[in-house]
Assembly symmetry: C3
Homo-oligomer: 346 residues x 3
């Protein structure tokens, strides 16, 4: 990818911005961030995982961000920090080429309804549509082709990438990041069944996203049936995730790709849902629960901890033999109990 | 969310529209619909599930829609109906703020090809694109940024929300609701394999949706390879669903979020597929089948009923011990049989 | 669907284009392609699977494409080829109505930044947005409402359908096909955890797609954290697929619908992932691996072959009895071992 717009920093500047201790020549300039094994003489790199320590002696980087305990092994300049992975996060944002590209103003092809309230330095991209009653906070960026439905409010510093859809009556906090193709506030899936057919229940609730929420590409968060679907502060949602109506997600929880959560389930704070996890509807998952990838949760969870289901892949030949036995499992257990009884009675 | 555009009704009007029996002052006016525990004095609420009966005595609602058998316990005005959940569905549609917002006409930024046939009161939103040969029935709404490919026909009363894509040569019945980000008529996944590489099979079929079909946010229904992909009348499809080429879904079936159906599988009428269910290709699922969440169906089903697979989540420590035994299951079964034989021979 | 724009060919022309041997009247004209049982007298059809041989005697088609060994049983004109399924693929592309519809030029409503480099015969549809620094090769088609981010390069002959999003700094090879709603280059899911909250790691890598890649509707391929996410040549990706940051997919691999691949996993060449398969992060899957539908792979795979996990659906009553035993599996195995020991000691 392009590095054309990435900025350059002296090591001294970086140490100051990160609150790191500098060892080496502070006037040296770096213009990129790369991994230990791929960094060149214009780059800064980082060491946050001992598994990569083997690459440290041969790094060609101008400088390495690492833990003070590893500074002695570093063949070049270094910035030391107690949590170098957090330092990497900060560095990555300094080198983000999107930062310098913001261009406040409304593109002439965007359609903005009368009476929309725009904060300072709002950027509205080409072909975007902002319906009546919308309020956008300071510095909000609306990407090309994105649509914001009537009466929606988006807090300061939030960014909608291209082709995002936020439906009517949604509330989004500050510093949200919504990736392309995601949809916030589509109808929940609600029908009354009568006479052999479905009768739609209009979804009259909304969606409320807290501050610092991120939603991945092509994810969907449905609006509530009556009350709102509620996503807490600092909730991070990956791509291809589905959150049904009236779900609640507590602050600081993270949902990996392809997670699906059925209606009215409440997930606590600081929960981690692995990729492809499914939660049934109307459950309560307490704070501090971690569910491993592709597990199905059909009951509420009241104790923090790690939960799992399923069986990992094996060779198809081995799997066939075992999977067929799964269907006999209850029968096998009964035969086992019979044998035990026979033995006891002897 | 906003209530700015929601209408107000007298209880008398509501009783009449719902065919309900009114007990109380028919001139009282309500302007909102809310749950039993959250409704205020301007709202009507409903009781459709005995689990919520405990909230009835303290409700602050102006009126409650409920079964005649519970009218005596109601502390306020009530509307009685044999099926109060169906009544709630009807009420919800009366309070839907989208209803009053329709604004027939074509937005000046929309691009509509020459010769497109528009029924009466069609609304085409900003930045929408309607290609050549399209026909839209009376009252069709095309949301902002939606694209309708060449030669597609959409029946009267259908609504496409924002950023919907309907590809060329698709037929959609009346009163369809297509949510944002869904794609109807993308190519099916078909390739011939030869010489170590893939050779594309052009997908020449279309997609036909019956009347009263709803498709959720970010769902995709692929076009057929030669014949059409067929979705029956009154089929309800949730968000993040994938329907492959030449699938057929019978009338009145409902598919929850994240369902995936592989090519050429036929699902009967009145089927219910739970969230995340996967159906292999070329299967036949008869009428009246229900499959529970995240089950994998690899064989045809010929008897109505409920079907399941998988194992629910447990603590990771417990799961690890059991999951490892799954790989030994065939061996365990053989050891059990050996013991039984030994016992018999004694 | 419409056949209005489909071309007509003589059998002689078709035989020549396919390199097939013609038996029958070469001047006969066909204007459509259909299945053996549905083809009419204006159509050509094909027989590639012995299961359909029973339909051959009664076909009403003008001609049948089939293996030379079956020519004798064909009641009408035929074109013979060693690999008739490959011949069907070639035929399907000849009858593709999209082929004749290309209309080079930039629609007046498209927004194309200054300095964008366009090859010959590029078509940019209505409401599309092309940001600064983009390069589009000869014959590239950008569908209505699609957005191409800054500094992205797309190779000759590639087609983006409607409402596709390609983010900044992405590289796409020649002859790619990107279906509606897909997103290439959204942020990967990366955060440092500190002080009980998440700190975003800017995703500075890009996405590189090789030549002849196809990506289905609503699929997402995330950009790399530092290096690029790499998709090889001739990789075919179905709808609703999620590919996380820094994943690598080898040439000629195919991923069915709803597959999810977690970060940094490397999939080899000629791999086949069934629908709904999940791969954990940081794995290595060697060349020639096939994983059956909805399997979860949590360990690297070093031997080519077929792999599976999970258990197929059964009746819910049967399933309940067996699934509850799964939680006792380790205990059952221990009880079995105890019985065996008791027997041995006798």
């Amino acid at each position: 990818m392009t590095h054309a717009h990435t900025p350059a920093f002296t090591l001294e500047e970086l140490a100051e911005r990160l609150g790191a201790t500098l060892i080496g020549d502070g006037r040296r300039r770096v213009s990129g961030l790369a991994t230990l094994s791929e960094a060149g003489p214009e780059d800064i790199t980082f060491l946050a995982n001992r598994a990569y320590l083997k690459y440290l002696p041969e790094t060609r980087a101008a400088a390495v961000l690492l833990h003070p305990g590893q500074a002695e092994e570093c063949p070049t300049a270094c910035l030391t920090l107690e949590n170098p992975y957090l330092g990497y996060a900060a560095l990555s944002r300094l080198f983000d080429p999107l930062i310098g590209r913001q261009a406040p103003g409304t593109h002439p092809t965007a359609v903005v309804a009368d009476g929309v309230v725009l904060g300072r330095d709002v950027e509205i991209g080409p072909q975007a549509v902002i319906e009546a009653g919308v309020e956008l906070g300071d510095g909000v960026v609306v990407g090309p082709g994105s649509v914001i439905g009537a009466d929606t409010r988006i807090g300061a510093g939030s960014r909608l990438h291209a082709n995002v859809t936020v439906c009517h009556g949604v509330v989004i906090g500050e510093r949200a990041i919504l990736h392309s193709g995601c949809v916030i506030g589509g109808d929940g899936f609600g029908f009354a069944h009568d006479g052999g057919r479905w009768h739609k229940i209009a979804q009259l609730g909304g969606v409320v996203l807290g501050d610092d929420v991120e939603v991945g590409s092509c994810s969907s968060i449905d609006r509530g049936a009556l009350g709102d679907t509620l996503i807490g502060n600092d909730v991070k949602i990956d791509s291809q995730v589905q959150i049904a109506h009236n779900v609640q997600i507590g602050d600081h929880s993270a949902l990996a790709g392809c997670v699906g959560i059925a209606g009215s389930t409440k997930v606590g704070q600081h929960c981690l849902l692995g990729g492809g996890v499914g939660l049934s509807g109307h459950l309560t998952i307490c704070d501090g629960v971690q569910v491993t990838g592709m597990s199905l949760v059909t009951n509420s969870i009241h104790e923090p901890g790690v939960y799992s289901s399923g069986t990992g892949a094996m060779s198809n030949a081995q799997w066939r033999k075992n999977a067929v036995r799964f269907k006999q499992l209850d029968a096998l257990a009964k035969r086992l109990a019979r044998l035990e009884k026979a033995q006891e009675s002897r």
